[in-house]
């Protein structure tokens, strides 16, 4: 399941990601843009998602997703893999620092300004199918 979190309307990468994941053989539920965190949780339950890939492009992701991992665990979805990617901070900060902060929020993987979708596709294959 994929979608853009918060008051964030950046759609282009979301459409590309949906297409890329479908072409890679995944069954994709795309929530599109402007989603409050609760929508991811509700849709993950309904869709029986194996992985939830959240995007945030406008730099305001932190305020929205801090508690999302805890909410997933509380709803019994601790087995669902959580990913976040995009432009994860306002201004220019070191990638490692930014990604570490999101891993601290309970995400399985975080990608600050990823260069290619292939990184996510590789990680998904490893995390979901133990393919190296």
């Amino acid at each position: 399941m994929i979608g853009v979190v918060g008051n964030d309307i950046h759609i282009v990468a979301n459409r590309v990601l949906a297409r890329g994941l479908r072409l890679a053989g995944y069954d994709v539920c795309n929530l599109g843009v402007n989603n409050p965190p609760d929508d991811f949780l509700n849709a993950a339950i309904e869709f029986e998602a194996d992985a939830v890939v959240i995007s945030s492009i406008n730099g305001e992701g932190e305020g929205w997703v801090k508690g999302i991992s805890a909410a997933f665990i509380k709803s019994g979805l601790s087995g669902v893999r959580l990913y976040i990617g995009g432009n994860l901070t306002v201004g220019d900060r070191p990638r490692d620092e930014v990604e570490a902060r999101y891993l601290g929020f309970g995400f399985d993987r975080a990608y600050h300004r990823p260069i290619s979708m292939d990184i996510l596709l590789n990680d998904l294959a490893i995390d979901l199918y133990h393919v190296c």
Binding site: G6, V16, N34, N58, E60, D92
Partner: protein, 472 residues
Amino acid sequence: MSVKLNEMVEDFSAKRALLRIHPLVRELPEDASALWLVKMPVECFAAVAYERRKHCPFLQPRGGFGLWDQQRELSLALAKAGADFLPLTIDSHTRHNDYDRALMLLRQSEETGENLLNGYPLLAHGATVTRSLYEGINIPVSLRHGTPDARLLVEVALDSGITEIEGGGLCYCLPYSRAYPVDRALLNWQYVDRLCAVLSTPERPIHRESFGPLTATMVPPFMVVAVEILELLLAAEQGVSSYAISFAQTGSLTQDLATARALRFCASHYLECYDLKNISVRLVFHQWMGAFPHERVHADALIVQGAVTAALAQADKVVVKTRTEALGIPDPQSNADAVGMSRYAMELCQGGDIIGNGSEIAEEAESIISAVDHLLGIVFECGGTALWDSVARAVRSGLIDIPFSPHQENANRMWTLRDADRSIRIADPGFVPLPQTFLNRERAKLAGRCSDKSLDRMLDDIMLMVRQGGGK
């Protein structure tokens, strides 16, 4: 051709009073903006500045910070760097009318010193504080946002002495919102247009500007021109007297110059058709709005190429990008450098209409105009009580269809691809009505690549400026 231009019959002042009951706005009375605007120097008015422009297009950087101090510092730096217009870019929460969240995050940012907003929360700061941002800076300020319901935001902007208001019912809804009803957005912007008209005086007109880049992703020029003309007519019928149509660099020099030609031609043609003569129209060019190269040399070259294109198109204003575009919100120094680079490049391009009459550009412009005339003719026949209503119906029926719009009312059926010269062409028009000769020409330009819907092709087209020059 028939179109019913709307006359607003309700008492506008009663409408305003009702809106201004909002707790974040009522610090100032309804006549605050008129009283403040009349005291401002005339050179702070965009419309007056345009009258006085010499040969070089005006330059406007981008930028908005959450905290007052940062915005003040940015404004001073940009003015010092030679910007002709200052931007005031609004944060995403205010854009979505989530004023409470914007206020909460502003307080949090003020306490921690860490900026949690991606723009200036105008309502949270209020008009009195915002007026003081521009003390001693006598150049026009432009409100940049992306708000389907900007009625309160524009009330406060005008209270603050901001004289240029960007946006429109289509251009600030279809690219910026998922679910805000298009018909309501058009009516909200009718309010904004009327407000700007009501607060204009002959010496101090409030300037309106449309946002032609739309999603800035594979939008064909004829659709940009059609949207710009519809919003121009909607503003003119509300009494707006100073207006700018705009578009963004497409990635094809031919198509950029042809779009400028087509916009100018169609604007004067349609205003004349509907006898809307009391409005002056400017042309604004946005430097490349798509994914920006990370490498400094590529980013700088792209900025300069945009400046050259704007000079050749004889634009009235250029909205510049910075070399740090790919890295987030630009700092004052990269903005100042972008202004300097662009001005230098444009000054090197003087010499009148050098290539604007080239046969390839003229042919492309003719083709764009033929598509615009065909589409608008059908939009005007969509029925409804007024032009805004016809436009809303045209969106719902897919006649107006913006590629990569996140909006649920947008059809998303039109499919575009770049041809060998990088011009944006129609591979599949979806429900958009287009003349057969236009479609035949588009398909001929694509030379059999019409059906290529692969991911790689899509990324090549979108990421044109990133994948160019070894960036792939």
